[in-house]
Amino acid sequence: MENLEGNGEFAIAWPWEAGPLRWGRTAVMRVRNEARCLPWVMPSVLAAYDAVVLVDNGSDDGTPDLARKLADELDAGDRLTVRDYPFRVARAGEENLLAPARSVHSLTWFYNWSFAQSRTSYSFKWDGDMILTAEGVRVLRDLEWQLAPVHAIVAIPTHPLYVESDSVAWLDDGSAHLEAYGAPNRPEFRFLKAFEWETRDQPEWAERIELPYGICLELKFLDSDEFSHWTSPESFLDNPRAVRKQREWAIFEAVRAGRPGDIKGLRRVEAPEGTHVIQHVIDTNRSTASLSTTHRSTTHRPTPHRSTTETPDGAPGGVR
């Protein structure tokens, strides 16, 4: 598929058109300046998936080289593919709305091009700040065979972990974001343009599985700008589709102001001496039943058997 700019190098060659895809699951990471997160992210993503495609979008902190180095250290260099996407991509919010879907500058094109680099039967959106607990790795690995007889959407609840220092973090037990991260690598599951970001298409006949709560964490460093992939804070603060982002903003504000108690469900985690707090959470966090139902959000339809007060929300697109 050609783009508006007529740039043949970044035309989209759908992988399924080149013949049958290899059975397996690929994590597709679209990243910019994630060197800080990668030492935590790469081990679990390489343990959980058969292949990883990392698409770098203009990092200047050595992200692609670090990813290769970490994969080599884990003896998984042959399962990592690194690609470069050199265009400025529209940020979530108004910029996305104004960008034509077939432009190389749109989130939709960026996602479809990135996912077209995978060569396996399933592909998973994976953000550069997402880490799995040991349980999460095992559950994701189960999918290797559980998904074989079905065409299913895989929804994964993620929980933000706000890192204050090497020894202290804040785990948002009070909210979980349920998003459809995985899907078959087929034409029915391409990315479409939505208002503020992109969304992955899914046919009515697709089945769906929701993984347990508490197995996947999103790293947020309190000393970083975690909102730079949005056009502006106004893009999400009054937006009914961005409830999750509003909560993240509220937590940043509260913790930085020394008022974490204002946020219901926010739990302080302190690591034992000599252990980094992120590793401590990876090692100790378990699937949970203690989530409040008031802050769950989802980007897609809820599964009928779960009665939650899920609100329409979405993963802001772009790179993390």
Binding site: E135, R138, Q146, V150, I209, P212, A289
Partner: protein, 340 residues
Amino acid sequence: MSESSEDPGTSEAPAPALRVVLLPGTRRTGAHAVLDTLTQFDIATPQQARWLATFHAKVFELAGVVPTDARPQAAFLLANTGSQPDLREEARAWLRRQLDVQPQLLLHEPRIAFLASFWREIVISCDAGPGFVGVQRPPADIAHGAQPSGPLSDAGHLASWLNAQLTYERSTRDQPRSFLLYDDLLDDWTGPIMRLGQALDLPAVLECGPQGIRRVHHTLAEQAPLPTSPVPLAESEAPTALVDLCAQAWAALQALTADPADAAAEAALDDVAEGYRLLYLEAEAVARSSINAAREAGKAFVRSQAADAGAAATAPAAPVKPAVPEPPRATRRWARRSRA
């Protein structure tokens, strides 16, 4: 005096290692022989024995899966249901209570074949070590012992057996596990059970005394051997493709009794699983009319139930029916009546 007895820090005995042995299979598979063997050692079954079966029945009903489900996607459906936080917490709380009383626990229930991944996580979250046991008998023998269910009845029984075996084997890879042949157990149980104890690191087996050993001998000697099929698998009336897949799976499962991590056997079972998935897809396509007819019958049943409920609500003298969902057994009875 031993070194440890001089150490004031050892006045309290260290907490015993927590082990949970999971054993699927019905009586036809020979699972009871392992159950009876292990319980002669200090491995206990749960105090609330019925809870496990009731819990599994609930999970299966929520998932829309039956214990003999031959659909390749049965494990997927159960994995989705098993992700529900309330179910996981219920299982975890129950298991914790059991482990408080008995550090080496044996959970035996046929539906574990489809819930091994679920229980693996529950056991680990209770700081215990899971261990999986599979008892193997020739598929023809298992199908032979099943209730006949009409023409080509073997096909359904073999498909159920194959699906459960493939699911359980695949979901227990990379975990401590042990596969035993029922016939080996009857011939000389000491070798298979010692290998099981080693693979699962079970102190109750590894450290057992002569009394336990004697008890096992007596227990197994008192058991009547399970009947074998007079018809070999190759002569089954089931479709040839299914029979071939069962034969391949059986060969690989036997190899796993010698080495539960035999890579060639695991690869062979992966091939069987793929072959079975395609065979099932074809069978569903061929039987599309039956599937559609069953779906329509189900809809008609729901409509008639709703109409009955509506009539009851408007009739002032009628007794109020509790809002309890129709149990699956009643649905099956109705289906049989409608066919008649």
